[in-house]
């Protein structure tokens, strides 16, 4: 097989190259030639094309994401040890602990092969956290699917759930939360977002650097194979490999090996703990192309990589294939020469394959050789960071006004509100997620304080001081569709509120921006608005965005998904023993209070969606100052032992919150409401939380709310003797009946 070397490229300047098939535009290809002063070799072309892809270069989103950094003030930044630009954001939470967390999407692979797509999505985000020097501690999985009863959802959902569970369970990471949302727009494009959180001592933070000429580059973990190569196989088949016959188009599916990853984690942590790595980088999308160019450009010199040393699992792989393989469960470390033996010994202990594949050099070039012939010779920054930047056209969709004008005001109201409660709790978006979450280990590691079905997941970080963190991810794509700016803020507000409801103080934000095609000006408008809304919202709440991920081209044909900026909020709690549970019934006598204000807000509501298939009008109003106040009250209530339960109100409104708090606590309640009962029960006004207060604390708690000008109302009492939810003027709902409705839906659809 003839290999396209730099020498060959120099002598054959006019050779045709399949850059278009690799997704590069004419001007991008021209720029590569300009950077190199010649045509790229096949391996170089493979590197540039994958690193300059939308997924890796953020070419359509970069100009917008800058807004996050631009709006982050020094004060917001004060607790941030690493932010946008690193593998994952890092936050100082006190007691010497640093927390790192990030979300990532694995949408398209999960549609093609649900189990493996979801599994490798979890695997990828866990390696990102590991690459910061942290021990991964928990995962979450925000998911979106087409209609619950669509045949393809039956194919996709069980596979994705099994994949998230199969990989996460085998890694020994508790799953502490996530989302399951159904909407027709996700039918050909389900969303699989995965979040991982990890912890380390502040002094152990590792950033991906390759400084120090003479340092060794070690690839460790799984062998490199032909999986996940996708488009790059055109290089092998159509251009250079004509002697060896064509290699058939390879599936771009990767198969995960969670056992190898578990061992990789323990091995890496031992390496960190022994202080024998200078820098570390996970291999995710774009494999070695990404790892070598990013490590080299984060360092201060050049790098030489002997690519033929990479342990392979398939025969006859070309340099381009080795560089672009997305084989999972691999990491790259930079190690000082005198530590290489120690490094190898740790790897032997864990039975991890480790190979010295390169060296940090004096120059400023990334040089890659293949059996002593130079196949890549590039300035690494041009690959990793100087990709194209697009200013895509932005246009508010022409039908946005009509959408907002089509309010839910004229939709017929229910005749029987009690029946509606039963219908709504059994609707796919509001029904119990137990069928899904029972497939996830939430107990492993023994640090899980709250998990599903709580508003937020919470884990103990320090067994001595009881310090912990809470996390929630949220997004209502219907709200975002109606008004992307407000919708993104509502997502932020909800995640913030969920974290506060658990008793933790929100401190930082991550995101996963799932949108349609960036080539559609309407989608770009949604994206721009959502970024602005989220960033401005973070300023108002005083917590920074520490990282995130963008996934474009989520559409079926020309129909884009609902704009889905999933927002994750991290909170800190100094003592997890004071966490606030979601279910009532913990104390002998409890009063139910509703904090916040209820308005008749039904735009984008679950009621309009489920009962009328309607989407129009405006989403609920958002008041972030109010959310902040509410958060402070919830944390103060937890700190002073004034709350025995708290449950945030979101989709499905008060009715849903009441049913859930009763079912989770296995305790009945009597509720009295005034005003229009339908509005009281089903409006989705933001900024509301239902709390249970021990009778002995009622006065103190309500005095605090009044003093701080947080609207509150007494809406009922907990009744440990009763096994029903009774709503005055409406009637009784036996808990057994509610449970059957709430828990029956997903098993009926997916068992």
């Amino acid at each position: 097989m003839s290999i396209d070397t730099v020498k060959n490229a120099e002598s054959t300047p006019d050779q045709d190259q399949p850059y278009k098939e690799l997704g590069l535009k004419d001007d991008e290809y021209a720029r590569i030639k300009e950077i190199l002063g010649r045509r790229p070799t096949g391996a170089e072309l493979a590197m540039y094309s994958v690193m300059w892809s939308e997924h890796c270069s953020y070419k359509s989103s970069k100009v917008h994401l800058k807004y996050f950094s631009d709006t982050t003030t020094d004060e917001m930044r004060s607790k941030m040890l690493a932010g946008i630009g690193e593998n994952a954001g890092v936050v100082d939470i006190g007691d010497g602990w640093a927390i790192t967390f990030k979300a990532e999407s694995h949408n398209h692979p999960s549609y093609v092969e649900p189990y493996q797509g979801a599994a490798t999505g979890v695997g990828g985000i866990v390696r990102d956290i590991l690459a910061m020097g942290a021990r991964p501690l928990a995962v979450m999985d925000p998911l979106r699917f087409g209609p619950a009863d669509a045949p393809d959802t039956r194919r996709v959902l069980p596979g994705i759930v099994a994949g998230v569970g199969g990989y996460g369970n085998c890694l020994g990471l508790p799953n502490i939360g996530g989302e399951v949302v159904f909407d027709p727009t996700y039918i050909g494009n389900p969303l699989v977002n995965a979040l991982c959180v990890g912890a380390m001592r502040v002094e152990d933070l590792h950033l991906a650097h390759a400084s120090g000429a003479g340092n060794k580059v070690i690839l460790y973990g799984a062998r490199t194979g032909l999986d996940g190569i996708g488009g790059v196989s055109v290089l092998a088949s159509e251009t250079f490999d004509d002697t060896a016959g064509k290699r058939k188009k390879l599936p771009s599916v990767q198969v995960g090996d969670p056992f190898t990853e578990k061992v990789l984690i323990e091995c890496s942590l031992e390496l960190f703990q022994k202080g024998i790595v200078v820098g570390i980088q996970d291999l995710g999308g774009a494999g070695l192309s990404c790892a070598t160019s990013e490590l080299a450009s984060a360092g201060d010199g050049g790098m030489h990589v002997w690519l033929d040393r990479v342990p392979l699992r398939a025969s006859g792989m070309t340099p381009a294939e080795v560089l672009s393989s997305e084989s999972q469960e691999r990491m790259c470390a930079v190690v000082e020469p005198h530590n290489v033996d120690a490094f190898m010994e740790v790897c032997r202990k864990w039975d991890v394959i480790a190979t010295e594949i390169g060296e940090v050099t004096e120059g400023d070039r990334l040089v890659i050789t293949w059996h002593d012939e130079v196949v890549v010779d590039v300035p690494p920054r041009t690959v990793a960071h100087e990709g194209p930047v697009y200013h895509r056209p932005i246009q508010r969709p022409a039908d946005q006004d009509a959408l907002q004008a089509d309010t839910p005001d004229s939709l017929p109201r229910p005749e029987n509100v009690l029946d509606l409660i039963k219908t709504m709790v059994a609707s796919p978006n509001l029904a119990s997620r137990k069928w899904v979450t029972d497939q996830y280990d939430r107990y492993v590691r023994g640090g899980t304080v709250l998990a599903q079905p709580s508003d937020a997941g919470m884990i103990r970080i320090d067994e001595k001081t009881h310090r912990g963190v809470a996390l929630s991810t949220d997004c209502n794509g219907r709200y975002t569709k109606l008004d992307p700016y407000t919708g993104a803020q509502l997502a932020l507000a909800e995640a913030y509120r969920n974290v506060a409801a658990s008793g933790a103080t929100p401190v930082a934000v991550t995101n996963c921006m799932n949108f349609g095609s960036p080539e559609d000006p309407g989608v770009m408008w949604q994206f721009e608005q959502a970024v602005k809304g989220l960033a401005d919202g973070c300023v108002e709440l005083g917590i920074p965005v520490t990282g995130g991920n963008v996934s474009f081209y989520n559409q079926t044909g020309s129909t884009a998904i609902l704009p889905t900026p999933v927002v994750g909020v991290l909170g800190v709690i100094d003592d997890v023993r004071r966490r606030t549970p979601t279910g009532i019934g913990a104390e002998a006598g409890e009063t139910l209070l509703l904090l916040g204000e209820t308005r008749a807000e039904f735009g984008g509501s679950e009621w309009a969606h489920h009962v009328h298939g309607h989407l129009g009008g405006l989403p609920p109003k958002v008041d972030l100052q109010r959310e902040k106040l509410l958060g402070e009250v919830l944390v103060a209530g937890s700190r002073d032992g004034m709350l025995s339960a708290a449950h945030d109100l979101s989709e499905g409104g008060l009715a849903q919150a009441l049913v859930e708090t009763c079912l989770i606590g296995e305790t009945g309640a009597r509720v009295f409401l005034d005003g229009d009962l339908f509005t009281e029960l089903f409006s989705e006004s933001a900024g509301r939380v239902l709390v249970a207060v021990p009778r002995t604390e009622e006065q103190r708690f309500t005095d605090m709310c009044t003093a701080r000008q947080l609207p509150w109302r007494k809406v009922g009492v907990v009744d440990p003797e009763s096994d029903s939810l009774e709503i005055q003027d409406l009637g009784q709902l036996p808990l057994a009946e509610l449970r059957a409705a709430w828990e029956g839906t997903l098993p009926a659809l997916f068992d």
Partner: protein, 79 residues
Amino acid sequence: MARVVVDVMPKPEILDPQGQAVANALPRLGFDGITEVRQGKHFELEVADDVDDATLAKIAETFLANPVIEDWVVRRVDA
């Protein structure tokens, strides 16, 4: 009634962690000389006589195997 066997194997270019685990364990257990192991699924079906080969192929392709990552072989055996 006929007996039909369907063997489903991970495609050669696809990672096979299961086979890998077996291959790695064998030398530790004192069994040498096994250079490669791949692990897949083996189905045995009891099939009515009017089920034809095309149907069997369809069952294997659309249901028993995942063509994205797996190959499969269908064969009728003497019951």
